[in-house]
Subunit: 133 residues, 2 copies
DNA sequence: ACAGTAACTTACTTCAAGGTGGGTACTTAC
DNA sequence: GTAAGTACCCACCTTGAAGTAAGTTACTGT
């Protein structure tokens, strides 16, 4: 048979497929499409932000959720954290090249949703109207 | 002053902005970026599905969540539901023109995440390695 | 001496997401 | 006759996501 050995892992893992429940790409997708993940990425596309600036920009995030979201995005390699060793602390958040790619997508999506809001409202009225008995 | 009356609503509503906590576009965005919403839309982009086909296609969805997700997407005007009055019941789900537009975006996003999985893993190793004490 | 500040962390609590298992109504296949 | 498929709905319960509020650090300004 002369099959070459797997170069990276002994246990050969299946190709990524979000339709499989166990596929790790689902978790990554959930990080970027999470409630605050989308908004943080989209915000960082426009410019880099400090923690509290970002908190003001993204309406309604608690400190806890912002920190949590940023950590997940940093760990996945989408966000770069630059903590200056000064007092009071100053931490700048920006997108990595890879983060920039996702951010563009979620930014576009956000804008698209905003632009189609009226159509959604109309659809809802039709839907709700049809099932009132 | 001679200000013209608002043609649609008395209470003039601010333009859609996902960065505002109360903006209704956030809810719509959450429907399409929800855990199952993304996967359902992406699946329906390839072809229309019956309920149980879709359940088989999207690994790990419960009946309850699939029904709930489809209802939200239908109400927002992204998914079209076609129930044939036959026995056993047959219901076909497909994308509306508007749904097709979002679905393309989340499909692209899903595929992008799958393709960048290795980079994410690498970033995680770097991140985790840096903070082990 | 004491308040203020930035970027968190931690503990506690609340609420929604989600899973499980039941039922339904009818038909076809075994 | 009974099991399985179909597309659900409903009630119950668990888990996890998220909010609230307080504590932490180390320095600066008054």
């Amino acid at each position: 048979m002369n099959v070459r050995e797997q170069p990276v892992s002994e246990t050969l893992m299946p190709p990524p497929d979000v339709n499989r429940a166990e596929c790790p790409s689902r978790l990554v997708l959930e990080h970027v499409t999470s409630r605050w993940g989308v908004l943080v990425l989209a915000a960082l596309l426009e410019r880099s932000y400090r923690f509290s600036e970002l908190r003001r920009q993204v309406g309604g995030v608690s400190e806890k959720m912002l920190a949590q979201t940023l950590q997940a995005l940093e760990r996945d390699g989408f966000v770069h954290r630059d903590a200056k060793p000064v007092i009071p602390p100053r931490v700048d958040y920006s997108l990595t090249p890879m983060g920039h790619e996702v951010a563009e997508q979620v930014w576009t999506l956000s804008r698209w949703v905003e632009s189609r809001l009226d159509d959604v409202f109309e659809a809802r009225e039709t839907y709700d109207g049809a099932r009132e008995s």
